[in-house]
């Protein structure tokens, strides 16, 4: 590093500062390491520990081994929560991701691109909490959705959406689609616009129609960006909390809880801390597995 400094001068410098030279980099890293260790890593490890205990937060945690994990599979609420989480993940792939791709393909072929991008991306600038408040209003018994249905003569379809399973989950997914489709669309659009136009021209010259071109040329070339979008969307759909907590609190009768919400309710409403911690670990395990699959697909050597 100090090749250009004359040897003698360097030796003096090294001698005088050798202790500090070795310590300096760690001193610079220390604040960041301390903050992360105290506020993030220690809590994560502690949650792992708590999941093997029975704890009400008042008395000392009592070690009970795998009891909490076995208990998970006995509670119907946990089953509902897992099913809802799977619905969220699958629906996320269909709507925010699938619709995002479709919109990107459409927008790529028409004028006023910037305008369309801005409109669909706009909800992303609003917090999930505000979106939840807005959509609760949309879906209220006398809200916009029901009023529109009545206006167009479909009044029989009007219902208190957020109070009826499975409509509560379905309509929250609508809100989520509204919130996140724009970002996926823009990522896909970036991918589409990096495809060389002559490849598509060549396919057309070979007699491929629009759909075949899309299936055989565009989709394979979009694969890298698709991997990114799909993984992020899946991981995020596991973590959705704000929307559900504001719109239904997981209700009515815990019918619309996902794992992220069940963990919060068991921990901070029911104060079954060991059980809540075991759900947090279950959720982490799934999210980390998906992240590893994702990392492997990125770093997979070119075939």
């Amino acid at each position: 590093m100090e090749l250009n400094i004359p040897a003698r001068q360097q030796r003096v410098k090294v001698a005088r500062h050798s202790w500090w030279r070795r310590t300096e980099p760690y001193a610079y890293m220390l604040p960041a390491i301390l903050f992360v260790a105290i506020f993030l890593l220690y809590p994560a490890v502690y949650t792992l520990y708590v999941s093997f205990t029975d704890w009400d937060g008042l008395t000392a945690p009592e070690f009970i081994g795998l009891e909490n994990y076995l208990q998970m599979f006995k509670e119907p609420v946990f089953g509902t929560s897992v099913v809802n989480t799977i619905i969220w993940v699958v629906a996320t792939l269909l709507f925010p991701v699938g619709l995002g791709l479709l919109l990107a393909v459409f927008v790529n072929r028409i004028p006023l691109q910037e305008f369309f991008k801005a409109i669909f991306y706009l909800p992303y600038a609003i917090s999930a909490t505000s979106i939840a408040v807005i959509w609760t209003y949309m879906l209220a018994p006398t809200g916009v959705v029901n009023e529109v249905l009545k206006m167009v003569g479909l009044g029989t379809l009007a219902k208190p959406w957020l109070l009826m399973p499975p409509w509560n989950t379905i309509t929250m997914l609508m809100a989520f689609t509204w919130q996140t489709t724009g970002t996926n669309m823009i990522l896909f659009l970036v991918g589409l616009q990096s495809i060389p136009p002559d490849l598509i021209e060549a396919a057309k010259l070979d007699g491929a129609n629009a759909f075949q071109t899309f299936r055989r040329v565009i989709l394979p070339l979009l694969r890298p960006i698709t991997t990114v979008v799909v993984t992020i969307a899946v991981v995020n759909s596991f973590k959705v909390f704000d929307l559900i907590w504001i719109m239904t609190q997981g209700g009515p009768f815990r019918s619309s809880e996902t794992l992220a919400v069940t963990m919060y309710r068991e921990s901070f409403v029911s104060f079954r801390l060991g059980f809540g911690a075991s759900i947090a670990n279950f959720l982490s395990l799934i999210v980390i597995l998906f992240s590893i699959m994702y990392l492997r697909s990125i770093f997979k050597p070119e075939e």
Partner: protein, 278 residues
Amino acid sequence: MSKKYLTRGALLLVMSVLVVFWLIPLVTTFLTALKTSQEAAATFPWQLPQGFALPENIVWAWNNGKLGQSFLRSILYAGLGAAFAIAMASLAAYALVQLRPKGAFIWFLLIYSGTIFPFQMYLLPLFFMYQKTSLYDSQVGMVLFYTAIAIPFCLFVLRNHFTTIEYEIVEAAQLDGLSNFGIYLRIYMPLSVAAIAALFLFQFTWIWNDLLFGITLSKSPDVRPIMAGLAGLRGTYAAQNIPGVLAGALLASVPTILIFVALGRYLLRGMTLTTSGE
């Protein structure tokens, strides 16, 4: 040729219909926030308001809904949290890239591992840790936590950015006798101003939008951050004053919308950064 224009026209039509649908929630929310609560109850959401009650509704949300305190607190939390995180992450990133201590990559992974867990992993121990140390429901506690949660991502971005700084510049500075800290302060930081500004706004937005930690680590109106305040406002007044609650939801989004408008393109780049980062 005409077939091409036909498909293009059809696509434009489909997209325009979708745009209308996409705008309905925002337009009706905005129209309702312009009405008094009596008017909102008596009219259809898409009917134009008779007066202009938006200022009253915002003042109501700010004062009666106690959103004002949360709004100001969140500016403090998001501003300080993002700034502290960048300060610490940039020092650590500088050490990793320039001073290259033993096991640099392990240290990087240790700090960066703060991004892999779902937030539910942190909640319980944090809550009890905060209760024991009187950090619970305190402004200091909120700033400390938001700083910590922002560090790993800041480190990731800054470490990447710092590797692009040309070695010749650093070498010249060393010859001029600048200390290591001097190089950090006079060379690395000034050369990263654009990246740091974008990172700051990105982290500001994240902290501003947080609900989960806000409701877990605070409860009183003069501590809880904006989204926790908005959740409380809605919980209390949803039935009584819909325009006021919606005005609150819009008010809570003003800073992030401003950032979005000012930085549309950068945010997009930030998004691709997050994307490749997770």
